[in-house]
Amino acid sequence: MKTIVVGSLESSDCLITLQPADKTTIDIESVVYDAYGKRIRHVIERVLSAHQLTRVHVRCQDKGALDYAIEARLETAIKRHKEVNHGA
C-alpha cells in the first residue's frame, strides 16, 4: 500500500498526502486555519464521502488554497490511490 502525495507547498496551493488506514482521519495544517480550518475540513469530508472512501488518512498542508483547489488536489490523490492501491 503506497502513500500518495499530490500538490505543492506554494502559496495558494496545498499538499495532500493520502495513506490507507483502519478508519478515516483528517489532519489539517493551514496558514489560514483560524479563518478557514472548518471549511477545509468540510471540503475534504465531502470529497471523501462522494468517493465512499472510509479507510484513509488525509493530511492537508494548506498554503491558502481556495476550496476548488483543495478539492481538485484531493480528487487527484483519490484517483491515484485507487489506481495504485486497488488496481485500475
Binding site: 483560524d34 479563518a35 478557514y36 480550518g37 472548518k38 481556495l66
Partner: protein
C-alpha cells in the same frame, strides 16, 4: 569640536539618567549599528524608565529588545516597526507603551514639543571638524538624513555618531552650530542594510494587472500631464506602476515636476533621462539613490518637516497630485491598515502612508483582492493606520472602487467610460471565492495606539491572538 572616543565618557558628561528621552533615525534601516551601540551603554548603566523616539525599528535592533524584556522601557514612540521588537509589544506590551506616529506627525510633534527629546543620537556617515555632517560620504553613506533633521534642531542635546571624520565638508546636511558633541566609533553600520525592503517590480500576473488598471485610471482622470507630481510606496505593485509611468512619459514626451518620498533607482533613472524635474528625497531606499543624491543637483534631500509636517504650509506633499499606496487591510469605509495583520501582529506602520493619503489630490490604494486566501477588504480593519476619509480609490485585480465621498472622481470616471464597482461588492466577490473568514482577532489588552499626523488618537493596538 573635539570628538569623544568613549561612549561612557560621553554619558558621564551628559548626565543621562533614569527616565531620559532619547531619539534615533532609521536611515541605515536594518544596517543600523548606532541604536544598539547607544542602548548597550544604557544597559551597562542599568538605566530605567526610558522614553525612546527611534523614527523606525528593525530586526537589527536587538538591544532595544533586551531592554524591553528587562522592563527598562517606559514608552516607545516610532513611525514603523517590525521584527522581534514589534512581536514583543504585541505579546507583552502594556497600555500606552507603544505610540505610533507618521513621518509628518513625528516632525510636527518634535517641533511643537510634543515629542520632547533630551538627547538625539544621530548616525552621521561623515562629520567634519566643525561638526557639520553629511549622509553622502563615508563607508556607511545612506544619503538623505531627512528623518533626523527635526531631532537635530529641537533635541536638548545633539550627539553625532560617526565612523568618518574629515577636515571639511561642503554642502553639509547638518550644520555644526546645531551639534553639541561628536562620538567617533569604528562603524555606524552597513549601508547595504538600507535595502531591507522588497524593492523590485512585481512579476506576479495579478500585480501586473493591478498596475495596468492603475495606469488606465490615471489616463481616465488625465493625471499624467506636463508638470504633474507623483509619489508611490515601495511595494512591488507600486514600483510596477512607476515602471509603466516611465514608459508612458517617454512615449508621450511628458515631464513631471517632482517625485517625492522614499527614492529608488527607478526614480533616479527617470530623473537622469529628464522625465522629472526634481526628486524630493526624505529617505534613500537603495544605494543608487544615495549615489544620485551626490551627483544630481536636482535630487534634493529634504527634512521630514518639509516633506510632510501637516503644520508646515510649504510641505512638499501639499502640492502632490497623486500617490499610490499599498494596504494590508482596507474596510468598507476605506480605512486602511498597514500597521498590523488580522491577528494584531505589528508588521509596520504608517511611515508616510497617512501623510500622503491626506495631502495628495488623488490617493490610490493598489492591492490584490485576496492575499493567501484572506480577503483584504474587511467590514472593519484591525487597526486604522490611515482614515478612510483620506483614501480616494481602491484598485484590485477584480475591480476598482471609488470612495463615495469623491463623487467628483466617480463622475469623471463614468464620463470616461471607466468601469467601477462598490467596495462592498468587491468584498462580496472575495467572499464568494474564499468564503467568509471565520474569526477576527479579539481586541482585549491594549499595548499602545496609533496617533494621527495631527496628534489625535486614531486607534488602539492590542496584544496578539
Amino acid at each position: 569640536m573635539k570628538p569623544y572616543k568613549d561612549i561612557a565618557h560621553l554619558f558621564d558628561d551628559l548626565g543621562i539618567r533614569h527616565g531620559a528621552s532619547l531619539s534615533f533615525h532609521h536611515h541605515l534601516r536594518n544596517g543600523d549599528a548606532v541604536q544598539n551601540l547607544v542602548l548597550d551603554e544604557v544597559k551597562r548603566r542599568n538605566l530605567k524608565a526610558l522614553d525612546l523616539y527611534p523614527s523606525a525599528v528593525f530586526p537589527v535592533h536587538t538591544t532595544l529588545l533586551s531592554l524591553l524584556k528587562a522592563g527598562h522601557i517606559k514608552r516607545l514612540t516610532t513611525n514603523y516597526l517590525n521584527g522581534p521588537v514589534a512581536d514583543y509589544f504585541a505579546t507583552h506590551g502594556t497600555p500606552d507603551m507603544l505610540r505610533m506616529q507618521s513621518h509628518g506627525g513625528r516632525a510636527r510633534a518634535i517641533i511643537e514639543g510634543d515629542n520632547a527629546i533630551d538627547v538625539a543620537f544621530i548616525a552621521a556617515p561623515a562629520v567634519d571638524r566643525e561638526g557639520n555632517a553629511t549622509g553622502l560620504e563615508g563607508p556607511a553613506a545612506c544619503g538623505s538624513l531627512g528623518y533626523a533633521m527635526e531631532d537635530v534642531k529641537h533635541a536638548s542635546t545633539v550627539v553625532l555618531i560617526t565612523d568618518t571624520l574629515v577636515d571639511r565638508l561642503d554642502g553639509a546636511q547638518i550644520i555644526g552650530a546645531d551639534v553639541d558633541h561628536v562620538l567617533l566609533v569604528n562603524s555606524i553600520g552597513d549601508a547595504t542594510g538600507i535595502l531591507s525592503g522588497t524593492l523590485s517590480l512585481t512579476r506576479d500576473p495579478i500585480g501586473v494587472k493591478i498596475a495596468r488598471t492603475a495606469m488606465r485610471l490615471l489616463d481616465a482622470l488625465d493625471v499624467v500631464n506636463d508638470g504633474f507630481s507623483f509619489q508611490s510606496g515601495a511595494g512591488g505593485i507600486s514600483l510596477r506602476v512607476v515602471d509603466m509611468l516611465h514608459e508612458k512619459m517617454k512615449r508621450d514626451h511628458i515631464r513631471a515636476s517632482f517625485f517625492s518620498g522614499g527614492i529608488t533607482a527607478y526614480h533616479v533613472t527617470m530623473l537622469e533621462s529628464g522625465l522629472v524635474e526634481t526628486l524630493y528625497d526624505v529617505q534613500c531606499f537603495d544605494l543608487e539613490a544615495v549615489a544620485s543624491l551626490k551627483r544630481n543637483a536636482n535630487h534634493i534631500a529634504i527634512s521630514a518637516d518639509r516633506y510632510a509636517n501637516p503644520r508646515n504650509d510649504a510641505r512638499v506633499i501639499a502640492t502632490l497630485d497623486c500617490v499610490i499606496l499599498g494596504a494590508t487591510e482596507i474596510d468598507t469605509d476605506f480605512n486602511v491598515n498597514v500597521t498590523t495583520d488580522s491577528h494584531n501582529t505589528i508588521i509596520g506602520g504608517s511611515g508616510g502612508h497617512s501623510d500622503t493619503a491626506e495631502d495628495a489630490g488623488l490617493s490610490i490604494i493598489v492591492t490584490p483582492l485576496i492575499k493567501g486566501r484572506i480577503p483584504v477588504i474587511k467590514d472593519r480593519v484591525t487597526t486604522i493606520t490611515t482614515p478612510g476619509s483620506t483614501i480616494d480609490v481602491l484598485i484590485t485585480e477584480r475591480g476598482v472602487a471609488v470612495n463615495p465621498a469623491r463623487s467628483d472622481i466617480q463622475t469623471r470616471l463614468d464620463k470616461a467610460g471607466f468601469s467601477t464597482t462598490s467596495i462592498t461588492d468587491l468584498m462580496r466577490t472575495a467572499h464568494a471565492l474564499c468564503g467568509v473568514p471565520a474569526t477576527t482577532a479579539r481586541q482585549v489588552n491594549p499595548v499602545g495606539f496609533v496617533e494621527s499626523r495631527h496628534g489625535k488618537r486614531l486607534d488602539t493596538l492590542y496584544t496578539k491572538e
